[in-house]
């Protein structure tokens, strides 16, 4: 079976969705069958293992932010449970 989830880098703790997933869909993550609880759109991220608030998220093998809430394996990882860790070293000025 072709999994709809792609691992971009071996160090990553999230997978990227390449085909739409319906809620309740069963797929395989690292050899285990996992039920995806919520619908996932293409390009969105799914937890590769159980994640806790504060965990760094790795994608492309690089930190892209950290969890603000816990997530189970197969859960959607996005704005509701994850935030940026990026702090610009200079002032951002809005352009009017």
């Amino acid at each position: 079976m072709i999994t709809p989830l792609i691992l971009l880098h071996p160090d990553d703790n999230v997978l990227v969705c390449r085909a739409p997933i319906a809620a309740g869909f069963e797929t395989v993550i690292d050899g285990d069958t996992v039920t995806i609880p919520a619908a996932i759109e293409v390009g969105h991220k799914v937890a590769r293992g159980d994640l806790q608030a504060g965990d760094k998220i790795l994608k492309y093998g690089a930190p892209i932010g950290s969890m603000t809430a816990d997530a189970k394996r197969g859960d959607h990882v996005h704005l509701h449970n994850m935030k940026s860790d990026y702090i610009p070293s200079h002032t951002r000025k809005a352009v009017s």
Binding site: I6, Y60, D85, H90
Partner: protein, 416 residues
């Protein structure tokens, strides 16, 4: 080990090696563009272009600078482009009253050992007469360029650039990381690989700095991204848009990583500015954002300007990733198009060299597409045409910019 076809290069008198043997017809102000194009058109043979490999007759490409006022960046770019290893001869077309220093450019080209002639329209009898004289001049240069010695070329002598354009949600999942794998393979074989567009790297400057071969270079990499963010903010464009979140991107650093993944995973050994040549093999960042206060508008008005800057750094081939679908090529150096989105590939197959969208549909892995890109780079270096070359694409844009020279920390591995 890479599966390498024999690359039989054109050996230039300055010792550099080219994979194409192009006669460049260069207008030195927009007012000379039509005449220059008129000369090039006489040599454009679409049937020959459509053949699978390059022919023996040197092809004729149109390049130029439209501005009437002088600009040090544009002059440096024209010097680098007219002495590019893929160029075997140059015809300069001047109106006559523009401020471009045509004598100094001619001296630079002569010093590189290439045939060069200048035609000044105001002294050559006008449009038709200059076109006629130009056609004869190009024929003379083709005859000289056809005698260029052919020598073996190693992968370690190649310079490869990469750019993304018309990106969508698939770019960062398929084509960009696949190019990263090709960059890793080509860089490991000793090639110089160049990535660019610091404006799209906002948020991953720390991650990038950690890959620098020295801490000083790391600081310079961070500074180049800070410069880009400030510049684009003044232009009125931030980087992270609401549409990015709908596409599944959660953070600024995640979005930037998608573009940054084209760079692969090798250590970063230097920063170049447009027209600088990589002194060794390895991975380089090309800093395309002007220095100082914004003066001439956007850093690059379209993808084509960035491709020209990569070529000015010596790029023999440019890897262009696209999700929405771009059809462009370039004068002087071939462009390989890597399509990220499988739907786009089906719509624009005639323009796409590589179908990286197969990764989206589970029909190929990132590693497989990465190997396919590496193999195609070597085939194109050995004379196979890219899709855009076969379709006759020779886009070229050069406009005004201002740069300071690169700082002392930028090329730590430069040979003494």
């Amino acid at each position: 080990m890479l599966n390498t076809p024999a690359i039989t290069a054109y050996l230039r008198p300055d010792g550099r090696k080219g994979i194409r043997n192009v006669i460049a017809v260069a207008y030195l102000v927009e007012c000379a563009h039509h005449v220059a194009r008129g000369i090039v058109n006489r040599f454009t043979d679409y049937e020959q272009l459509a053949s699978a490999t390059i022919g023996d007759a040197p092809e004729v490409h149109l390049i130029g600078f439209p501005g009437c006022y002088p600009n040090a960046y544009a002059f440096k770019m024209m010097q680098a482009l007219t002495t590019h290893p893929n160029v075997g001869g140059v015809l300069l077309i001047s109106l006559g009253c523009e401020s471009f220093n045509r004598e100094q450019l001619k001296t630079t080209i002569e010093a590189s050992g290439r045939p060069v002639e200048t035609l000044v329209i105001q002294n050559s009898g006008g449009t038709a007469s200059t076109i006629q004289k130009g056609v004869e001049a190009v024929k003379r240069m083709q005859a000289i360029a056809a005698q260029t010695p052919r020598v073996d070329m190693d992968i370690s002598e190649l310079i490869i650039g990469t750019i993304c354009g018309g990106s969508d949600g698939t770019s960062g999942i398929t084509a960009n990381p696949a190019v990263g794998r090709a960059f890793d393979a080509l860089g490991a074989a000793g090639a110089a690989c160049i990535f660019e567009e610091t404006g799209e790297l906002v948020g991953c400057e720390k991650i990038m700095a950690d890959r620098a071969v020295t801490p000083e270079l790391g600081a310079a990499l961070e500074a180049s991204v800070e410069k880009a963010e400030r510049y684009y903010t003044i232009m009125g464009f931030g980087s992270f848009a609401p549409g990015n979140a709908e596409g599944g991107l959660t953070t600024q650093e995640e979005k930037s990583m998608g573009a940054y993944s084209k760079s692969g995973s090798a250590p970063i050994c230097g920063i170049l500015k447009p027209g600088d040549q990589p002194p060794t093999g390895g991975l380089y960042l090309l800093d395309v954002v002007p220095d100082g206060e914004p003066r001439f508008g956007f850093p690059n008005i379209s993808d084509n300007a960035e491709i020209v800057e990569l070529i000015a750094c010596g790029a023999h081939i440019t890897l262009f990733t696209t999700g929405r679908g771009s059809v462009v090529g370039s004068a002087i150096s071939p462009v390989i198009k890597i399509c990220a989105n499988p739907e786009t590939f089906r719509k624009l197959a005639e323009d796409m060299d590589i179908d990286a969208g197969r990764i989206m549909e589970g029909r190929a892995t990132l590693d497989e597409v990465g190997s396919e890109i590496t193999d195609l780079v070597l085939k194109v270096a050995a004379g196979a045409r890219t899709k855009s070359e076969a379709l006759g694409h020779q886009e070229f844009i050069l406009t005004y910019k201002a740069f300071e020279p690169i700082g002392p920390a930028c090329l730590p591995l430069k040979r003494a």
